[in-house]
Symmetry: C2
Subunit: 487 residues, 2 copies
């Protein structure tokens, strides 16, 4: 064969889709790849690394980090996978300890989907969408319509579908919070649309600032950008913020005034430590009751997922979005778009049903469910606080107190010598810092530049999912060493 | 509230993404929606329909149509969902009849993925990709590299990723067989790229015709289209064709000559009734050995899925694609693109492993697996033949004899009066025919216009998955009535 040097490929980095090439997605970028290499080295018995475990604090992946799945969910799923087990109900109950409500739930879900191996309707199984609508009604105290519910392949697929519909031209813009979960900017890149960044207010617990949003919108308009939607991530990713009702009302008023779609990413809605979660849907409906007519034109899409919360079933790729106030013809186009990929994973759809309908008080599985759920919640809170306390001990590190989601997003003051060293390696200063942290401690985080941040400020995002708090000590030690090295 | 008539939405059918709007995906279009309405009416006890069951012959969805899942697969999956069952191995074995190899496989897969509720690597779990590579080696007699294997959310997600990379500009073209599975044209529409249609040769068992391909390429080039890839679906969808080695070699030679990527959609590779399946990869490697150097520049992506074959686990959304001969930088962009959606469903990945590694002779689960597998294969063949015989009885209907996949795609001669009636309803003649068929028989098919066909010819696609053969009688009766009505 001729040498590869002489081969000319049809596809090269210079002639593929430039919009895919332009996309950035740091959550699974260089650091993540390197951390997996370290893990493989440790697994293979390598001894000369300065750490003995890799901590994947770069991604909200609870079950990779030893969070145990909720028993009820998995017992039901085991029957869904093998419905023949229902022929041996006595064995399930007496020998395997399955409660009666587990079996009843499996029967109900099998009625909804037939077989978890069959395609469902593209929008998701109707029975499950009805349960989601009832959940939203209970949560918000306002009605919800199953025909507005789209089950999805994780929340990410919902974001993808909605942005594919919204992004009509290269001058279409979408307001995106900075810092943000990079799914938004990456998808906008792929779609050759414009990200209209608005900065969150770090010193007000990373809240939204209406003046900031208005200024971003106006600047975009002056640049010929046709802004069609605003993204809000509440509770915040990567910030961990949890919005107040007033903040949400402000966003809704602004969206109604400018006639733009609101995309509320609410996947962390049960991960709230301070105050409580208010859904955009509830706040919208409350406003509509108080001020009839004002918000009638508003289109709100809100997203939820089984990947986060205390469930943490990321690998099952379950999620949903509710489309409120959209034109029926537009919804039909969303349906067509999602139908091209046939349907969301059916077992993931079943997890969505269990998420919106967990065991209730009085049901057999409730005591264990409650114990597991509370234990996970408490563990998350304790680790968040431990990390927060560790950050307090680090020179030049500032962190908002934990409020929600699974992340902390401290700012770091990087010494000029380290900034210079980063430049020489053609890296952002916080990227350089996070790589050094990984090399020294085995802890993989994501540099703030992967999410966006104000010029001249540097951050990193860490989850507080990894078990134990020993590793927070590693971080303190690394940081102090780093500061000394580059002082 | 103000009346909806006065509301002005941000998003309307006239200002959303025009490329999504332009996409057509008939497999889940008007007929499918109508058939689901009929089904709901029957379920609700409606008596005055001229049929008592709806037959969803529009989509290859075996388990919706009572095909039983393979026991081994589902027993393993039940343990993957609830690994606590492994603590009661004796119960699994003695009370539930799980064989030892079921338990061993579940342990092996759990080692590969950790938890099915955790995100895996974006390209899929490495252990599973290694098993896929070994399977390809056994199948083809040529080596395969796990780093070239991408696990995916069904084969559809693989097509989506590959086309997203390939389609660089609005003048990028992709050669697509006509008739085709509309995933291809729909995705090209969404990406604002060009479908370069080449017609399959109906009277040569729907085979590929190199002159046809060459002519299509040349015409496209004259129109300023930059053709970058050719799609082949083998065995064929919707045609049911199964390609000979010579046909495959012709396509590979042409692709090497024109320096275009080959996308081989091989999801029906085990659904072959006539002759045998040859993978594009094997034929390529054989050619490379025979003619060193000639094919070194060729890029081949071949796709497979757990949705079809005798497995039929569509709802689990498992698939993979192998990328052979691609530039590493291009592969890195594919990786980045798929990482934006995090990872394919993990339980679906496990089904891929079981597909490529089913129970082997001598293993405990083999006898039952073999019996189930052969039974499904035989059932498919018998129903294909029953349908084929039924079509022979219909005036003006011509059908190629069943060769592969899950479909027959007969041509129909539609009387001029019916064509006129269709026109008055603003429908294609075969759409009109298929709607009439659904209304009269409850059998839902997809009109040929949903896949593309030569001008003036009309077809419909039917699966041969639905149990029994009684419904083929309904078709004959409907057709004869239709011909009489419009004669």
């Amino acid at each position: 064969m001729s040498s590869t040097a002489t081969l000319q490929k049809s596809l090269t980095i210079d002639n593929i889709n430039p919009h895919v090439k332009a996309a950035r997605y740091a959550v699974r970028g260089e650091l993540a790849v390197k951390s997996e290499e370290y893990r493989a080295q440790l697994d293979a018995g390598k001894k000369d690394l300065p750490f003995d475990t890799v901590i994947s604090a770069n991604i909200g992946n609870p079950q990779q980090l030893d969070q145990k799945p909720l028993t009820f969910f998995r017992q039901v799923a085991s029957i869904l996978e093998n419905p023949c087990l229902l022929e041996k109900e006595d064995v399930l109950v007496s020998a395997l300890g399955y409660e009666k409500d587990v079996i009843a739930r499996a029967r109900k879900l099998l009625k909804f989907v037939g077989s978890v191996g069959a395609y469902s309707a593209s929008q998701g199984a109707m029975g499950i969408r009805e349960e989601v609508a009832k959940f939203i009604e209970r949560r918000d105290g306002h009605s919800a319509d199953p025909s507005n519910i789209f089950l999805s392949n994780g929340a990410s697929a919902g974001v993808n579908a909605l942005l594919n519909i919204i992004c009509a031209t290269p001058s279409t813009g979408v307001l995106v919070p900075i810092p943000q979960y990079p799914l938004y900017t990456a998808t906008l890149s792929v779609l050759n649309a414009r990200c209209v960044p608005y900065y969150l207010d770090e010193h007000r617990q990373w809240g939204t600032n209406l003046d900031e949003i208005r200024a971003a919108y106006d600047t975009a308009q002056q640049n010929g950008t046709d802004t069609r939607a605003i993204v809000i991530i509440n509770p915040g990713n990567p910030t961990g913020a949890s919005l107040e009702v007033q903040d949400i009302e402000n966003v809704l008023r602004f969206a109604a005034e400018k006639k733009i779609v609101v995309m509320a990413d609410e996947v962390y809605q049960t991960n709230v430590f301070k105050g409580q979660f208010y859904s955009f849907k509830k706040v919208l409906r409350d406003l509509q009751q108080k001020e009839p007519g004002t918000f009638d034109n508003l289109e709100l899409a809100s997203l939820h997922s089984v990947s986060k919360g205390m469930i943490g079933e990321c690998g099952h790729r379950g999620g949903y979005y509710e489309m409120v106030g959209f034109d029926e013809k537009v919804k039909a186009e969303v349906y067509k778009y999602v139908s091209i990929q046939l349907c969301p994973p059916v077992i993931g759809q079943c997890f969505v049903e269990m998420m919106v309908n967990p065991p209730k008080e009085g049901e057999e599985s409730y005591p264990l469910y409650k114990k597991e759920y509370d234990g996970i919640f408490k563990g998350l809170y304790e680790r968040a606080m431990a990390l927060y306390e560790a950050f307090k001990k680090m020179e030049g590190v500032e962190c908002q107190s934990p409020a929600g989601s699974m992340y902390l997003f401290p700012s770091i003051t990087i010494p000029p010598k380290a900034i210079e060293a980063a430049k020489q390696q053609n890296k952002q200063p916080d990227e350089f810092y996070a790589l050094r942290m990984l090399d020294a401690t085995g802890v993989c985080t994501v540099p703030g530049s992967g999410f966006g941040q104000k010029d001249g400020s540097w951050h990193f995002r860490t989850t507080f999912l990894a078990p134990g708090t020993e590793w927070t000590g590693r971080l303190v030690e690394f940081h102090n060493g780093f500061m000394k090295e580059f002082s």
